[in-house]
């Protein structure tokens, strides 16, 4: 990233202002997606399109020269969104209860994304780790619940 203000720990971990600068951008994009998803929730169902637009934005950064931490943040978010779309878009069997659980999971993901945005802005590594762990956990726990509902209904 070539900034004179950055502090590199010698193994490529950029803890400097540029790393934080980019994460502030990502945090702002997360907020925008969260806001749009919250607005869509008022009409009865959380729309995933803001998340797809957010994924495209962060993936456009993937070719830039990034610090290891920024790369990690982008990879984590992009992979999580990819997984979410792979498993929840398209021909997922419909049931009212599974749909309710799915929406509950989406709402949890939205809340956790918002917390992750705060953590990114704070620059606190522990907070970022905690927020990202919570985000992944909310998603995977939600998947488990939806899967159980669908499987039980089939039985």
């Amino acid at each position: 990233m070539g900034s004179s203000q950055q502090t590199d720990d010698g193994v490529g971990n950029n803890h400097g202002s540029e790393a934080l600068g980019m994460q502030t951008f990502v945090a702002a994009w997360i907020r925008q997606a969260v806001e749009e998803m919250n607005i869509s929730a008022k009409s009865g169902a959380i729309s995933l399109s803001p998340l797809k637009r957010f994924q495209r934005k962060i993936e456009s950064l993937a070719n830039a020269e990034l610090s290891k931490e920024n790369r990690f943040v982008i990879f984590l978010l992009s992979s999580l969104i990819q997984d979410l779309f792979y498993n929840f878009s398209g021909d997922v069997p419909y049931s009212r209860r599974a749909e309710e659980e799915k929406q509950r999971m989406f709402a949890g993901v939205v809340d956790d994304l918002n917390r992750f945005a705060f953590a990114l802005e704070s620059g606190d590594s522990q907070a970022k780790l905690f927020a990202s762990t919570e985000l992944v956990n909310t998603y995977l726990s939600g998947v488990k619940v939806v899967d159980a509902v669908l499987t039980k209904e089939e039985d």
């Binding site: 997922v92 899967d147 499987t151």
Partner: protein, 230 residues
Amino acid sequence: MDRKSVAMYNPLDPIEREMCHDIARSCLKNSSYDLTSGGRGGDFFDIDEYTSSKSPGAENGQSAAEKARKVADLCAKKIDELKSNGTEIDRLAFTERDSGPVGMITYKDLIETVANMETCIIRPRKRLLRSALKGRPFNPGERVALISDVATSGDTIHEAAEKIWSLGAVVSCALVFYDRLEGAREYLSLYDIDLVPIFDRMNFEEENIIDPKDSQISNVVQLIGVGTTS
């Protein structure tokens, strides 16, 4: 190369021999790539290349549709042989991965028509079990034959079989176009899955397509770059 499967060597009839050469020329390439099992591969096999306009059959005026029909006919013939030998098959299953379709899925509808059998798609990487099956839900104990292009370690087939079992059906066998003879048969037999290849590496060696001494493929395209396959 693991030769444990050589005892199962499968001789070819004249039509299969001709097709063996056509298929090898278009689908088999010297390469160096990562397998989905995590190992390394040297002979890349892509059944979709057979119907491409660059494949050898195109030179003698065969259309992609004619070649696709040959693939489907060969699969249907093998399925008929299996059924007449006592293997019970109610439905054919093709596999799709998160990284995209596994070879043979292109031929799904054609094989369904030619073999006159119902088909479905298994998506082993779906986190929701009910999304792992595209098609009508399985009847309890329904007997399914998995159809795939290549068998190497058997991992992809086993992964698909696990979803089929979880969905209440039974795996009758796994029919593959090409068995690399690298242990898939033995691995799958641990789970009572019978691996049935149309062609295997021994066929290609017998036909002088692959040199058994140095494992290099003769008279086929050099593949530039890397890919992944099963």
